[in-house]
Symmetry: C2
Subunit: 253 residues, 2 copies
């Protein structure tokens, strides 16, 4: 398919790379950030434009991959009758696009996406569409870049997926961050914990996390817990988290 990519940030870059790798053609990158847009256009051997008014009319699909708050601005003066148009925002309704065309939808990548990486991460894709034409096109597009079959998800489901994503991505990353701080203060090498972290995640591929829970909280090992709390006396923020997580693990048993 011929695609116009609107946006030049992380999601635009990585989805664009996936599309190109899947054999689609990006015929134009439209973005306010002239440097970023022309860099992506160069990467994909195509043209770039910095104003919505210069948007090409020759594409099959238009993908709006900009931040949630910027979508309304992009859409305001955009009219693409007969074309399929989708945005990639988890928390924005598809209906924000209904003034643009009769064939619109959402293509939501469930992944933490950054463009400054030299590999293409696996990206599960969720989509929804206003009508059959948009459904068929977006489904085909989504299928071409995700390992698993794409799943239909409306606003409510995307919101729930986002909650789950926060729990498995933002929260563990914060724990890693607190642990790194703890290690720095206690003169330990945080990087020595990376094999353990990798192993924790490796196990998810074959076992449910509820089956592989271990540790002093899970064993209800009061003596070890007490010694850990003692160690954390000088780390109040972590002490609080330690107590809350320990209670929650006990409660889940």
């Amino acid at each position: 398919m011929d695609i116009v990519m609107i946006g030049s940030g992380n999601v635009a870059a990585v989805l664009g790379r996936k599309f190109v790798a899947a054999g689609h053609r990006i015929i134009q990158v439209v973005g306010r950030n002239a440097t970023a847009a022309s860099e992506l256009a160069y990467e994909w051997d195509t043209e770039s434009a910095n104003y919505m008014s210069l948007i090409s009319r020759r594409a099959d699909v238009y993908l709006i991959a900009v931040t949630d708050n910027a979508i309304a601005g992009v859409v305001a003066d955009l009219r693409l009758p007969g074309k399929v148009v989708a945005h990639t925002a988890g928390s924005v309704s598809k209906d924000v696009l209904k003034t643009v065309t009769d064939h619109y939808g959402v293509l939501y990548p469930l992944q933490s996406i950054r463009k400054d990486i030299n590999y293409l991460p696996d990206i599960p894709v969720y989509f929804e569409a206003s009508d059959e034409k948009a459904f068929a096109v977006l489904k085909k597009l989504a299928s071409s870049i995700s390992l698993e079959p794409p799943v239909v998800a409306g606003s409510e489901e995307r919101l729930k997926l986002h909650v789950a994503a926060v729990i498995v991505n933002n929260f563990p990353n914060h724990l890693f961050s607190l642990a790194e701080q703890f290690c720095r203060k206690e003169k330990l090498d945080f990087r020595q914990l990376l094999p353990l972290i990798t192993e924790t995640v490796q196990r998810l591929k074959t076992s449910s996390p509820s089956e592989t829970q271990t540790g002093p909280a899970f064993r209800n090992d009061g003596e070890t817990l007490q010694r850990h709390l003692e160690i954390l006396k000088n780390h109040p923020q972590l002490l609080h988290i330690y107590k809350v997580m320990t209670e929650s693990i006990k409660q889940a048993k």
Copy 2:
């Protein structure tokens, strides 16, 4: 080196495999669990024994890889004068071994270890020793199975490492577990989150987690946070964790 492995559980099995892979010889597996001990002995083409009284005297090193609480029982009647003896427990002092020999120490693997896997995980090893002979032998042994140079760590440091391990392993795994439960109730497929989890961890290899923190709490995106709390109304345990983690992320900024 010729090694006697005391214990037949997860740590004994995986450390033993690492030793064999590194060219050492395990000349005997001693374990109360006859089935598990003979299985390991068969795997390593060696003999097994089920009583401490049958322990071979021909090894260079004796490794006590049993649960923390079982060490005292193993050690009670064990006398191995002249030999190097070490246990693998993070939270037990090396001095529990001083009646066994004059050359004792600890070899602590900083990893979550299970034997029912078909790969050998990377295992950072920490060690300490009572004297120069034990130090030289344990350092050599540790070096032979870990990618990074082994690090000297006494009881206090091992305790701190264990605290850090709980934070980066037990707590994230509990979050994965809660997310899995949430997905089940909300009819979402938890497995679709695995690429996101993998990516979160992948990033630790090149960036500090404090630099890659994202999400509504970090952005202080009150509207999204409010919608997430709304979704979590029917998940009280997760709601509490969500609030605590959100506050902690804001506080860390």
